[in-house]
């Protein structure tokens, strides 16, 4: 299978996975293994001084690229602050920008996201912004120096699939950066659908973490992402959309 190039790195797997919402952390290494993913997301939080917590990094294989997110940020300034903290912690220079000031639907703020992207890209971060699929906003992310654009398929955690399909299709057609569908993908078939459309990768968390058997679900996602990519490269036969009309339009060429 062809590799995915982001921020100068060539990736074998087109599945990115998140580490939130797992019933217990000890399952994470096996999930990562069966997903074959090499880019793993995590979040930053204030240390809780009252309880000893395990460190998520202990569960992530060393050959994975860490993609900390800026969840919790409500504006560009906070996202930039979190990104710098992540770097200081030794997470490398990849960052998923996530700026959310809407607590009801958890929709990202595209404008603040672009501002944070610009600052961090200038500082040398490989910036992967999470966004609401909007063409003009995506263009501003390109100009801001993003390394990929990550539109949502449906609001975070809803598992509702590619509700924003038409808008994502436009981004795939028009944006010259990898489009990675993030959020909303609830089933492997939906991941395959995104890949068949030409998305370069998908990011899945909730659907795996909350599955009855997360390890098997991770494997199912891995296979579906590969299948979708393969179908995209094989150029699926288009469905005939119209019948050939009876009155010819080019008959005059034979006169």
């Amino acid at each position: 299978m062809d590799k995915l190039s982001i921020g100068g790195k060539l990736l074998d797997s087109r599945l990115l996975i998140g580490t939130g919402k797992f019933p217990n952390k000890s399952i994470i290494p096996r999930v990562i293994e069966s997903s074959e993913s090499k880019v793993i997301t995590m979040a930053l939080r204030r240390v809780d001084l009252n309880s000893q917590e395990e460190n998520i990094l202990d569960y992530i294989p060393k050959d994975c690229i860490l993609l900390p997110n800026t969840s919790g940020a409500r504006n560009a300034k906070e996202a930039v602050r979190i990104a710098r903290l992540a770097k200081a912690m030794g997470c490398g220079n990849w960052i998923k920008i996530e700026v959310i000031s809407d607590n009801k639907y958890l929709l990202p703020d595209n404008y603040e996201t672009a501002k944070a992207t610009e600052v961090l890209a200038k500082e040398g971060f490989i910036v992967l912004p999470y966004m609401s699929p909007d063409l003009m906003a995506a263009k501003s992310l390109v100009d801001a120096g993003a390394a990929a654009v990550m539109p949502l398929g449906a609001p975070i955690g809803t598992n509702r699939g590619l509700q924003t399909k038409e808008l994502i299709r436009i981004l795939i057609d028009e944006i010259n950066l990898p489009i990675i569908v993030d959020a909303g993908i609830g089933k492997p078939s939906q991941a395959a659908e995104a890949m068949e459309m030409g998305a370069k990768a998908v990011l899945v968390n909730t659907a795996i973490a909350t599955a009855g058997n997360p390890v098997e679900m991770a494997r199912a996602f891995s296979l579906s992402v590969k299948a979708g990519r393969m179908a995209y490269l094989a150029k699926a036969g288009a469905q005939r959309q119209y019948a050939e009309a009876s009155s010819p339009l080019t008959g005059f060429l034979n006169d």
């Binding site: 998140g18 919402k21 997301t41 939080r45 240390v47 917590e53 992540a86 968390n205």
Partner: protein, 63 residues
């Protein structure tokens, strides 16, 4: 000083010692003093003063 929103009294103390006192691994957290990130390699020299606001951040699961 205020550590993660909680008032604490350690007198004059380096970041390294503070982390030890709190049972936190040096390589697993990031530390901000008064909103400025302190690089890991400075933890043993950086002396905190009373009144400083300290944030200790770590990684957790997330998507």
């Amino acid at each position: 000083m205020i550590v993660n929103g909680k008032e604490m009294d350690f007198g004059k103390i380096t970041i390294l010692k503070l982390l030890e006192n709190l049972n936190l691994g040096v390589n697993k957290v990031a530390v901000e003093v008064n909103l400025e990130i302190v690089p890991n390699e400075n933890y043993s020299e950086y002396v905190l003063s009373p009144g400083d606001k300290i944030e200790i951040i770590r990684l957790v699961g997330g998507g």
